[in-house]
């Protein structure tokens, strides 16, 4: 038993390290890719190809002056960014990177936990991400921050529905809520083939859930200065920033797990396939940011409630009927 806890702790520490490093380099990837999309070069001064840029940014944020706005609610002001980051990291407890592998003669599964309510747990924890944003916007005692956090909350709650409906179709087809079982069910056919509508729904809602362009209204600069994190600087700001990037990786990992066959793929080892697919999705996220203009707030709400939700319900109904029909006949 202590040995198992030790392995668990090792895996968790490795995963957190991996995620934080990946997020640091995602900022570089994003800036370089945006540079290419906009026909400029992007940051390339710090180290070869700008590879030390994330390190420089991190040091800069760490040594920055730590300020607190006047009239801020101190406890909540400090708590909110941490809450954002912890909820973002917690999801990775149930995301499978690969099947069991043999390391030093022991069967080690490449996931932390295979809970039989896996996907529900992911959705539940990501629904807690709202707290970091709401509390951060409120505690800073700034009307733009509050407006940003209110917008963001409304957006997150609305698009969670569409996201959930897309997930239900996949769960119906896989017959399990466990993410490991869902990946195993895609051994022959990936669910993106059988559930294209659900995938589109999931992806659109996923972009909205991560507050990314074209749905980055909570931080619309010209309306709200910066949104819920205006009054945050230094490392507290960095925590919000990292949380956002972790959420992008989470959405990509979920899209891969639910629709693109998880670790399945020919020739290459399983975890490598998983990472490659996730990398592909992260790049698409950045590509979308470089391509599409921001939508208006009423357009965002109308799209969520009048298009995505009805479409999701119809898709769940259709999936259920198709699943039951062959057995009935």
């Amino acid at each position: 038993m202590p040995g198992e806890i030790g392995i668990m702790a090792l895996k968790s520490a490795f995963l957190v390290f991996l995620l934080l490093t990946a997020c640091a380099y995602m900022t570089l990837l994003e800036r370089r890719m945006l540079g290419r999309f906009q026909v400029r070069i992007g940051p390339n001064r710090v180290g070869p190809f700008g590879l030390l840029q994330p390190l420089a940014d991190g040091i800069k944020l760490l040594v920055k002056e730590d300020f607190v706005p006047r009239g801020a609610d101190l406890l909540v002001y400090w708590l909110a960014p941490g809450l954002s980051m912890v909820t973002a990291l917690l999801v990775y407890a149930v995301i499978p990177f690969g099947p069991e592998v043999r390391i030093f003669g022991r069967e080690v599964p490449l996931y932390l936990a295979d809970v039989n309510v896996g996907i529900l747990l992911v959705l539940a924890i990501s629904s807690l991400g709202v707290y970091g944003i709401v509390l951060g916007g409120w505690s800073a005692n700034n009307k733009y921050a509050l407006l940003g956090s209110l917008r963001s909350t409304a957006q997150l709650i609305s698009y969670e529905l569409a996201l959930g409906l897309a997930v239900i179709s996949v769960v119906l087809q896989a017959g399990s809520l466990s993410l490991v079982e869902i990946v195993k069910a895609q051994e022959r056919v990936w669910f993106v083939v059988t559930q294209p509508v659900a995938f589109l729904l999931f992806f659109i809602a996923g972009v909205a859930e991560t507050n990314r362009s074209p749905f980055d209204l909570p931080e619309a600069e010209h309306e709200l200065i910066a949104g819920y994190h205006i009054e945050y600087g230094g490392f507290k700001f960095a925590m919000y920033y990292v949380a956002e990037y972790i959420n992008v990786v989470t959405m990509s990992a979920l899209a891969v797990t639910l629709f693109w066959g998880g670790w399945h793929g020919p020739w290459l080892p399983a975890p490598l396939w998983f990472l490659l697919k996730v990398f592909g999705f992260v790049s698409v996220f950045i590509w979308i940011r470089a391509t599409l203009p921001r939508v208006r707030y009423d357009q965002l709400m109308a799209l969520g409630w009048k298009v995505l939700v009805p479409l999701g319900v119809a898709n769940v109904l259709a999936t259920a009927v198709v699943m039951v029909l062959p057995k009935g006949m």
Binding site: M1, R70, G71, A72, D73, L75, V76, L79, V115, N116, V117, L120, L121, L123, A124, I125, S127, L128, V130, Y131, V134, L135, W138, S139, N141, N142, K143, L146, L147, L150, T153, I157, L177
Partner: protein, 190 residues
């Protein structure tokens, strides 16, 4: 392992409960309530009920408490929110109700300690088991609850519908009674 976790979680839940009623700031109360809900959810996990645990986080922490926070943030700092009500008859009532609760709880604990242990079934607490129970044994209450929820949704849509211009039948509230965004209202106190 389990007794240790149980100890930590129950202390956290109790501390959160005290925090809810002890803190002066309603937002702090809401955060304390979040701690209570979270510890309870992990306790459900310990009790082999993962589905209930996840629903606890999903519904209570993820949806209902967010709604609470919304209301607190928009109304807090508004003059009507601080009427200085003294809670005259609520206090004795609270004492009576608390005494009743303690009585119930002690009866339940003594009863639970003396009666033989019930062993959970193979699939106890899984989604499949809960779903089967909802759609067979408890079908009528389940459907009734869904109808009530539907009524509430329809009512919310009707209430939230904007009144068309020139056809205002309801008297508009006077300007100072509408909820204000409290930004800057706390500056005076700081």
């Amino acid at each position: 392992m389990e007794p240790v976790l149980f100890g930590i979680l129950s202390v956290a839940a109790l501390a959160g409960g005290v925090g809810v009623i002890a803190s002066r700031n309603p937002v702090h109360s809401a955060i304390a309530l979040l701690a209570v809900l979270w510890s309870l959810a992990v306790l459900y996990f310990l009790l082999l009920a993962p589905f209930v645990a996840v629903l606890q986080i999903f519904l209570y922490a993820g949806a209902i408490l967010v709604l609470f926070l919304f209301v607190i943030m928009l109304v807090h700092g508004h003059p009507l929110a601080h009427t200085g009500e003294k809670l005259v008859w609520q206090r004795p009532l609270a004492v009576v109700l608390s005494a009743l609760l303690v009585l119930f709880l002690s009866y339940a604990s003594i009863h639970g300690l003396t009666s033989p242990r019930a062993s959970p079934g193979e699939n106890f607490g899984t989604v499949q088991e809960v779903g089967r129970a909802l759609f067979t044994t408890y079908l009528l209450p389940f459907e009734l609850a869904s109808v009530i929820l539907l009524v509430a949704i329809v009512a919310a849509v009707v209430l939230g519908k904007p009144v068309p211009r020139g056809a205002e039948t309801l008297p508009r509230p006077p300007r100072e009674e509408r909820p204000l965004i409290p930004a800057g209202t706390r500056e005076g106190k700081a």
